[in-house]
């Protein structure tokens, strides 16, 4: 991506993410034959949170939420500025860890439990992202997005099983049913979010939007830069995630790892075997 596109895209990332979040809430409501909130509801939530009186547990806790958002934003910036994909993933992991430290830094049982679950969730989705990037490297010989986006055949056709593996990891990353264990609103009241209020809860809301942008820009890599295919992937994944979120109940974290990890590893191995057979045949 050229600098002149990347800069505005990075600035606009939270806005795009907020729109995605709003659209997600609307589409989930329509699936339940409800009217649902307005499309701009996440932004109204943010404005409301900014004008509430603030309760801060301790300054370090609040600072970690801010650091979480900034590091997340930096990782998206690196992705847009054609940086190494592995570096992007590790910066993203760093952001998650900052939130985990924030969760452990307060004496709230739910916050601590949410932090532990956040770690378990990252144990589930991070290997998938790393395996996905390694597969992209073996196929295209580069860790940079530009190399993948300019190639003739998009990764969706050459690495379909890796794409399915990523699809399984997405509900874990975006905290959606059945794998929303780290948020679990009825159970641990939002996990690490529980002790944040006012401005800092708004910061976490923006981080949630940035997570959407991160995930969907990762999916964009699979379109190989073809806009029609990218749009098809976006709409398909968006509707699929909303449908799965509506239709399933939450599993426990043990079950989550038992369900996802073997499935993901099998899919990745299948894809490697197919690729190597193709190479031998050629």
């Amino acid at each position: 991506m050229s600098y002149w596109i990347a800069f505005p895209a990075i600035i606009a990332a939270p806005v795009l993410g907020g729109l995605l979040h709003g659209a997600d809430r609307v589409i989930r409501a329509r699936m339940q034959s409800r009217k649902g909130p307005p499309l701009l509801q996440p932004f109204l939530d943010l404005l409301k949170l900014l004008e509430k009186r603030q309760f801060i547990v301790h300054s370090y806790h609040a600072l970690l939420a801010l650091a979480h958002m900034i590091v997340l934003w930096v990782s998206i910036g690196m992705l847009f500025f054609n940086s190494d994909l592995l570096m992007v993933i590790y910066f993203h992991l760093l952001a998650t860890l900052l939130l985990v430290v924030a969760g452990y830094s307060v004496r709230s049982v739910f916050s601590n439990m949410g932090a532990t679950r956040e770690l378990v969730a990252s144990l589930t989705y991070e290997p998938v992202f790393v395996l996905c990037v390694i597969a992209l490297f073996t196929q295209y010989g580069t860790f940079q997005p530009a190399g993948i986006l300019t190639s003739a055949n998009p990764p969706l056709y050459t690495l379909p099983f890796i794409f399915f593996a990523l699809l399984i990891a997405l509900p874990v990353k975006l905290k959606k049913s059945p794998f929303d264990i780290s948020e679990a609103h009825q159970e641990i009241i939002g996990g690490v979010e529980i002790e944040f209020s006012g401005f800092y809860k708004g910061v976490l809301l923006v981080s949630k939007w940035l997570d959407y942008v991160y995930v969907y820009s990762f999916l964009y890599l699979f379109s190989g830069g073809q806009l029609g295919l990218a749009l098809a992937i976006f709409v398909g994944v968006f509707v699929l995630l909303a449908a799965v979120d509506n239709a399933t109940a939450r599993v426990t974290y043990g079950e989550m790892n038992r369900i996802t990890l073997p499935l993901v590893i099998i899919l990745v191995v299948i894809n490697y075997v197919v690729l190597s057979i193709q190479r031998v045949a050629i």
Binding site: A29, R34, G36, P38, E51, K52, R53, F55, H185, I189
Partner: protein, 181 residues
């Protein structure tokens, strides 16, 4: 003036000894048929992120500290809605030894929703009415009318350690409530 709270009020629902009749009706409001999410309302379980406190039940003596605690933990601007006859006045339990005759004996109430149990339509009407009150409020601190101990302010917040006063001090301070004699 709190302009944006009106478009995105988050609820906190607390059962202070209700028979669950009103609670079922509140949950019916959140379910697809009545769908109060169309007003941007979300049911949070967390007082420090909530704007509206919905209380059902006549406030039993076991629940009164929890009600005050939850109210104090909510950041301003905030409104309180008493849902159902019990929460408004004590209802059929009024004057009994184990209840406190309604929410307003402990915390200031902005909207009363009568009915046994309150209909979902009434609850939606009351919540929408409370949004008008919420719009007129600002970040100024609001206090419970009664705490177990004395109200003290510590670094801009209600010092909740005062809540842990003895029951005897509460009984002494509350002779103006209770049975009508």
């Amino acid at each position: 003036m709190s302009r944006h709270s009106v478009r995105s009020p988050w609820l906190l629902h607390f059962n202070a000894g209700s028979c669950n009749g009103c609670d079922v009706e509140i949950l019916a409001c959140l379910a697809p048929k009545y769908d109060i999410e169309r007003f941007g309302i979300v049911n949070t379980g967390n007082p420090i992120q909530a704007d509206i406190l919905l209380i059902t039940g006549p406030i039993t003596k076991r629940a009164r500290e929890r009600v005050v605690e939850l109210y104090v933990q909510m950041p301003e601007p905030k409104v309180v809605i008493a849902v159902g006859a019990c929460a408004c006045t004590g209802g059929v339990f009024r004057g009994m030894y184990n209840v406190e005759n309604g929410v307003d004996s402990f915390i200031p109430v902005d909207v009363y929703i009568p009915g046994c149990s309150a209909h979902p339509e009434q609850i939606i009407d009351g919540v929408v009415k409370s949004l008008g009150i919420l719009a007129g409020k600002n970040k100024e601190m609001e206090f419970p009318t009664q705490l177990r101990g004395p109200v003290t302010i510590d670094r801009g917040q209600v010092d909740r350690r005062g809540l842990a006063g003895s029951v005897a001090s509460l009984e002494k301070g509350c002779t103006n409530r209770g049975t009508e004699n």
